[in-house]
């Protein structure tokens, strides 16, 4: 990897972060909204922790996994919307006229998303610690949690980039948001799968990959080391990352079709 390439990636990543920071709504909303939902749910569903078979006495600890995934969804939106804006304003054409490699653009954009993903993860975890949640997997588990945040925000960021590159429209990227939320609500977000009483909901939650992303985070916070949950979570997040990255690299080649 040449020095020039690394320099390009770093500057593009810096740009991605700077752009987000300079749009306060893009920073505050992804941090505050998931925490607000966490507060509402942990208050409203308090009695759920008393259900026989519920994995923990602390509902906050159980629900803390949700902001991690919600934050990644916001990352998808931000990465996609920013890239779509670059296409709409012609900024991508400007970049296309430089010797920049497409991979530098994608890597820079995703590095920015991942940086913000780390910040989000730190805030969510900090809030959890402040209200008394103690990750069952210890310090090493927290590091693994950050590793998971990296893979998830990278994968979802790449998904957003793919949507932007294919459609070239920020509105189209934003339109994905409700779809992702449907996936989130039809998962084991609010209750463990084995405690879901309605069969079709349990089946949908079992088929829904988002359930396994949540359960991976949850295992580190409330269950300790669970090899199966970790393998499934990292496996699915990794698969999303690989597919989304491959697709967005292809879409970028098409979009930046220079001679």
């Amino acid at each position: 990897m040449s020095e020039a390439f690394v320099d390009q990636v770093l500057l593009l990543a810096r740009r991605s972060v700077v752009r987000t920071i300079r749009q306060p709504a893009n920073v505050i909303f992804p941090l505050v909204f998931p925490l607000l939902l966490l507060a509402v749910n942990s208050g409203g569903l308090k009695a759920e922790a008393n259900l026989p078979g519920f994995p923990t006495k602390s509902l906050v600890a159980f629900l803390l996994a949700v902001p991690f995934i919600q934050g990644a969804l916001f990352a998808t939106m931000n990465a996609g919307t920013d890239l779509a804006r670059d296409i709409q304003t012609g900024f991508l054409n400007r970049l296309s006229l430089t010797p920049m490699r497409g991979t530098a653009l994608l890597a820079g954009q995703l590095a920015g998303v991942v940086t913000l993903g780390f910040v989000q993860a730190a805030v969510y975890l900090g809030v959890g610690l402040a209200v008394g949640v103690r990750p069952a997997s210890g310090v090493l588990g927290v590091l693994v949690l950050f590793g998971f945040a990296f893979v998830v925000s990278f994968g979802f960021g790449a998904l957003g980039a793919f949507a932007a590159l294919r459609t070239g429209s920020g509105e189209a990227v934003q339109a994905l948001f409700p779809l992702f939320f449907v996936f989130l609500f039809l998962s084991s977000m609010a209750i463990p799968r084995n405690l879901i009483g309605i069969t079709w909901f349990r089946d949908v939650a079992t088929a829904n990959p988002v359930s396994y992303l949540l359960e991976c985070v949850r295992s580190l916070i409330i269950g300790g080391w669970d090899g199966q949950a970790l393998a499934l979570g990292f496996g699915i997040a990794g698969a999303i990352a690989v597919v989304a990255l491959t697709s967005s690299a292809w879409a970028l080649r098409v979009r930046m079709a220079r001679t």
Binding site: R22, G90, N93, L97, P99
Partner: protein
């Protein structure tokens, strides 16, 4: 291999199910020349620029820019050119300085050289004071100047400017013209400039190509093109309408009759002089309310070559272009 900065032979861009946006263009632009590509909206100017800057492959024909084939040697072309495309493609959330530093990095300038070049360009385009302000707060003229600076970061030999002054006030426009002229004269940069402004082509370009519906309908220096259309006309409107016939008799000595609604007009013979006409009218005691020498303009050239005035000609062409683009999208 020729020494031309830009050359094109039968360049065509046809959109699927749509019209030919560019329909067989030939170009030969010398190094250091400012070439004005004049035409209304939708005439094919921007499509030509997109092909020459390697952003759009031609469907037929060939072109070389800085000696490199635009299809086979795209990366070499891109290294030799700078471009400010029709939309000032800037990030409203970044500052002017951040734009220049990013562009420098993407062009492969080393870090210390990048800083130096950034300051140099900010000073040159008069944006030093606004360098650390977000571009979203810049005026149209400032955005265009930054756009130009970005195109110059890597010291390109050839500069493509796609309607660089559209929407700018006259002061910003004049400042940009001065910088473009300086680049060509002092640094020997070849400039390929598209415009829909007659005045811009007239003032700035060494040679002008007039494009209409994807074809070049006239090419030459502004003076050559005007001379091709015809001689200047003189129109006189006498204060007393009763002496109109006498004025017509006098003016007939200087040229052929030309149409005039209120007075008398003649297309001047070679060597005929306005001062002689004034003396003749004065000698005959004829008082005139209005006397005007009308030099042929590039609009006259456009009118002569296409049968339409440049002003307003774009509307129909733009409709055609949009229809083509819509069909392409289907």
């Amino acid at each position: 291999m020729s020494d031309l900065a830009i050359e094109a032979h039968g360049l065509v861009r046809e959109f699927k199910k749509g019209p030919r946006a560019v329909d067989g263009i030939d170009l030969a632009v010398d190094p250091g020349e400012i070439y004005g590509f004049l035409g209304p909206n939708g005439a094919g100017k921007s499509t030509t620029v997109h092909m020459l800057t390697t952003l759009l492959p031609p469907t037929d024909g060939s072109a070389r820019v800085a000696g490199h084939d635009i299809v086979k040697e795209g990366s070499q072309v891109r290294m030799a050119i700078g471009a400010a495309l029709q939309e000032a493609a800037l990030d409203p959330l970044l500052t002017g300085r951040e734009h220049l530093q990013l562009q420098g990095a993407l062009q492969g300038l080393p870090r210390d050289r990048r800083r130096e070049r950034t300051e140099e360009l900010l000073t040159r385009v008069g944006l030093s004071e606004a360098a650390d302000r977000k571009v979203g707060g810049y005026s149209g003229g400032m955005k265009r100047r930054l756009d130009l600076a970005l195109a110059l970061v890597h010291r390109p030999r050839i500069l493509f400017l796609d309607e660089p002054t559209t929407g700018l006030d006259i002061q910003s426009r004049t400042a940009l013209w001065a910088e473009v002229s300086r680049l060509a004269q002092e640094e020997g940069v070849t400039v390929f400039l598209t415009t829909q402004y007659l005045e811009e082509a007239d003032v700035l370009a060494d040679r002008v190509g007039i494009i209409h519906r994807g074809r070049i309908v006239a090419e030459g220096t502004p003076d050559e093109l005007k001379a091709e259309v015809g001689r200047p006309t003189v129109e006189a409107i006498p204060t007393d309408p009763g002496v109109r016939t006498r004025v017509a008799e006098l003016l007939a000595r200087f040229g052929d009759q030309a149409p005039s609604v209120k007075g008398v007009a003649v297309r001047l013979y070679a060597g005929a002089d306005l001062a002689d006409i004034v003396r003749e009218l004065d000698g005959d005691g004829i008082e005139v309310a209005h006397l005007q020498l009308h030099q042929p303009s590039l609009d006259d050239v456009f009118l002569a070559k296409t049968g339409r005035s440049l002003e307003g000609a774009g509307e129909e062409d733009e409709q055609t272009r949009l229809a083509g683009a819509a069909m392409e999208a289907v």
